[in-house]
Symmetry: C2
């Protein structure tokens, strides 16, 4: 069935909103705002949904921020929220490691490529980790490093308790970190990624995303990571684990077909709603292999349901 | 035809050596030496070939060294050579840029991800470049960088004369360099790689190779680079351009089936000879899709032809 265009269709909007009366999952950047620019009508639209008793959930693949960081961002933009409503890929990954993976007692440490968001969420789940923002790894590789990493017999270089490598967006990625991550996986660690978005939208353009941090390892290992962000259903399972909702009465709203909309479709949500204020274009929505149930020019067109 | 095992087969070795009476192309690491360890008999074997009037050529995908650097390495290991006999991927790439690519006069600059070897070879071909070992790029990305890179209107940030992005092994790879390389290619620069070996052998183990530096860009761009190292025939063309030899009377010797042996086969050389002192195993040689004409336990088994 072709995606239904709901902008300007007040009756269609009303029935759409009535149908998904439980949960609205929102991608954020490209839907609610772009970078630091809040789209007009975002706050009012969220109020409309909350006023009708719908649970609002913010679902983001951004792994550099923790839920607490993310709430600060929402607050700074004037969007009321609480941390319980926020699911970021660093949180999804931490839950996966602490609750789903059955790690042996002597292999419970995580080697992190990423920023503080991941570290905060791992701490919140009591998962021990090394790497991440450790300044000791923000340096060039030395001839001595090659020998010690290859030998692998010094626990201060290759920690034998590392059972997981978790890769997220790291603005301080370097050769040493990639080399260490590779050696941990070769020695048996599980290869996880917070998400595999190749790019990060910023300043109206694109920059390297978390997927680009995993790319060297994928090439070296010939192995893809288990990715915990959208469209991974590990994230949907985590959301359902908290809210226990009826999927047929939930709707995913997003701007990216291959992450957001696919996330909703594969999660068997009742509805998927695309907006044209982000990455995917109208043409892609109408001709792509992943199609939403409905689409709008912009999120605030939902306000027309009130008219 | 199954690869012929020549170790201990003096008659077979003699006829093999007689057949390829013009040029022997040698991969180096894993064939002549491993790391800093020279295999016994390497010097004598090269002497045997030279004594029989064969041209010896050293062909390496190592892009961190120039030909001059590489000769120093050969000399340090006790292997007589001259720079004319050495083809490294940084040289191959420089020749490709200066002699094959027809760059517009205002797009002749190369943005380099890599070390001094590439810079030296670009200089030897009078190719202007930026990036590389420039200390100004060995730093974290700043919020200001995002804006200026995205805007692209400041020639001190995004140089409008860059027409090529050349990616080799860079021990100082970072987020800023990847972001800049991505933006140059998006603005029309040609995407080249010295080579795409995903790993670099060192200390008896593997570390990130030049291909791992291209991997984030490949993922972000959805585009592969033109790679100039083995098995790219751009490298074979460069070698033939210098020595003007009869390919049917030349032989490629190497330890990696998917680079060295494939390089010789696709270059339609008369012979390919694998040795078991490097990456590929006997099993891979006998069962792989890329098979050499012959193989030896070790290069110095060629000395048995003298016995």
């Amino acid at each position: 069935m072709a995606p239904r265009y709901l902008t300007g269709d007040a009756a269609g909007l009303k029935s759409f909103l009535d149908k998904f009366d439980v949960v609205f999952l929102f991608d954020c950047d490209g839907v609610l705002w772009s970078g630091d620019y809040l789209f007009p009508g975002t706050v009012e639209t969220l109020e409309l949904l909350r006023g009708r008793g719908k649970q609002v959930v913010f679902v983001t693949n951004n792994s550099t921020k923790s839920r607490v960081d993310y709430q600060k961002k929402l607050t700074g933009l004037g969007i009321p929220s609480n941390p319980e409503e926020i699911f970021c890929s660093s949180y999804s990954a931490s839950i996966y490691i602490s609750r789903i993976l059955k790690l042996p007692a002597d292999k419970r440490k995580v080697f992190v490529i990423g920023e503080t968001g991941i570290e905060q969420e791992l701490r919140s789940e009591n998962v021990p980790f090394i790497g991440g923002t450790d300044p000791a790894l923000r340096r060039d590789i030395t001839p001595e490093d090659y020998k010690r990493i290859a030998a692998g017999d010094d626990p201060s270089v290759i920690d034998p308790e590392v059972g997981v490598v978790l890769v997220g967006l790291d603005f301080h990625i370097n050769y040493l970190k990639i080399a260490l991550a590779y050696h941990y996986v070769k020695r048996g660690a599980i290869f996880l990624a917070t998400n595999i978005d190749s790019t990060l939208p910023s300043s109206g353009s694109l920059f390297p995303g978390a997927g680009s941090m995993s790319a060297p390892l994928i090439m070296m290992l010939g192995q893809d990571p288990v990715a915990l962000g959208k469209p991974s259903q590990a994230m949907m399972d985590a959301i359902e684990g908290k809210f226990h909702f009826d999927r047929s009465r939930a709707c995913m709203v997003g701007d990216r077909l291959n992450t957001d909309i696919r996330f909703g479709i594969e999660g068997k949500l009742g509805g998927t709603l695309a907006v044209l204020t982000g990455v995917s274009s109208k043409e892609e929505i109408l001709t792509g292999t992943v199609q939403p149930a409905a689409y709008l020019d912009k999120l605030s067109d939902l306000l027309e349901a009130e008219s």
